[in-house]
Subunit: 174 residues, 2 copies
DNA sequence: ACAATCCCGTTATACTATAACAGGACGGAG
DNA sequence: CTCCGTCCTGTTATAGTATAACGGGATTGT
C-alpha cells in the first residue's frame, strides 16, 4: 500500500532509468488517449523531473532545460508544469514549492507525501482508506472534493538514525 | 467533530468579535504560560488575521499593519507570522500562501482544511481518526512525524448550489 | 489552402520570502 | 539600580516563485 519513491538509497535497489522510461511511456499513452500533445519541452521536463531524485523547483528545472537549449524564460517551465500537472503526470509539493513525478499516473489516485525535513527526500504513498474517509467527510459537509494536498513532514528513518547516532557521539565526547 | 470557521455566512450566526476576543485571550494565556512575549505587532497581527473572514496573505496583512503605523517592510510581518505559527496560534495554508487563525490553539490538534476554489473560504476541521491513522502509517515506515499539511480543495456547499443554479438558468435560456 | 486552435518566444511585472546588520527594549543577576 | 545578555524591531537589499500580456509560428481538421 505504500511505495518508496525517489530515494537515493533506492538507486541500489532498482534501475532508475527504467522508472523514467516507464513514466514516459505512460505519459505518451495517456496523451495519445486524451488527444493531448506531449511536445518536446513537456516531454523533456517530465524526464528531468523523473531523473531528479527529489522534488524539483520550477527554476531548477528551468535551468536544466536552458542548458539543453530550450528557452530560458519562466513561462516556458510553468507552461510545461501546468500541462503535466493537469494531466496528472506530476504532483506539486505545496509545502516545498517543488514538483515531483507522479508514481501512479496510470490509475486514479491521490498523492500523499512523506517529506523528510533533513534530506528533503519524498516518499509518495497511496492510502485508499484515508482517501475514502476524506471524501466521505467532505461530502457530509456538502463539499465537492476536487483535489487533496496531504503532506506529512518529519524525519525519515535514515536521517532519524543518523541524528541519533550523532547525538550519541556528542554525548560520549562530553 | 467538525467546525465551521471564518465563513461570511457565519456572521449571521455568531458574534465574530467574540471569536477574535477569545482567540486573543487564549493567545495571551498561552504566551504567559510559555514565557513568550505577545508584543504589539504580534498581537495586532493575530487580531487582523482573525478579523479577516478568509486566509490572509502576508502582504495583505503587512498592508493593514502599515495603515496602522507599523513598519511596512516585509520582515515585520514575516517575523510576526513566524512567531504566531511557532506558538500554534495560526496555520499556514500552503496551497494558498495564506495564513489563518487557528481555531483550537488551546488544545493539541492538527489543522485540516476544506478550501473552496470559488469563494476561497476555508473551513477548518479536526479529524482525530485520520490523524491517528497518519501517525500510525508514518511510524510503520520509521518516519517521525512533525507536521501535517492536509488541504482539501473543491466547491463548498454554497458555491456548489450557486453554480448549479447558474447552470440551470443558462440552460433554460438556450 | 484555409481557418481555428494550440503552443511557444519574449518582455515585463507581481507576488512571496529571507539575509544581514544595526539599534533599542526588556528582564534578570548582581 | 545598573549592567549584561537576550530578544525584538528597523532598515536595506535581494532571493525565489509565478503570472500577465502580446505576437508569431506550428498543427490539425476541413
Amino acid at each position: 500500500m505504500s511505495e518508496k519513491h525517489n530515494h537515493p538509497k533506492d538507486e541500489e535497489h532498482h534501475d532508475h532509468d527504467h522508472c523514467v522510461e516507464s513514466a514516459l511511456q505512460t505519459a505518451e499513452a495517456l496523451c495519445l488517449e486524451q488527444g493531448q500533445r506531449l511536445t518536446k519541452v513537456r516531454r523533456r521536463a517530465l524526464e528531468l523531473i523523473w531523473e531528479s531524485h527529489r522534488p524539483l523547483g520550477a527554476y531548477q528545472l528551468l535551468a536544466k532545460l536552458a542548458e539543453e537549449g530550450f528557452n530560458s524564460a519562466p513561462p516556458t517551465v510553468y507552461r510545461a508544469l501546468d500541462f503535466l500537472l493537469g494531466a496528472g503526470l506530476i504532483h506539486k509539493v505545496e509545502s516545498m514549492n517543488a514538483y515531483l513525478g507522479c508514481a501512479h499516473a496510470d490509475r486514479a489516485h491521490k498523492g500523499y507525501f512523506l517529506i523528510c525535513d533533513e534530506c528533503h527526500n519524498v516518499m509518495e504513498f497511496d492510502y485508499q482508506d484515508i482517501h475514502a474517509s476524506l471524501i466521505d467527510k467532505a461530502k457530509k459537509q456538502g463539499f465537492e472534493l476536487r483535489a487533496e494536498t496531504i503532506e506529512l513532514t518529519g524525519l525519515c528513518a535514515t536521517c532519524k538514525s543518523a541524528g541519533e547516532a550523532a547525538k550519541k557521539a556528542a554525548k560520549d565526547k562530553s
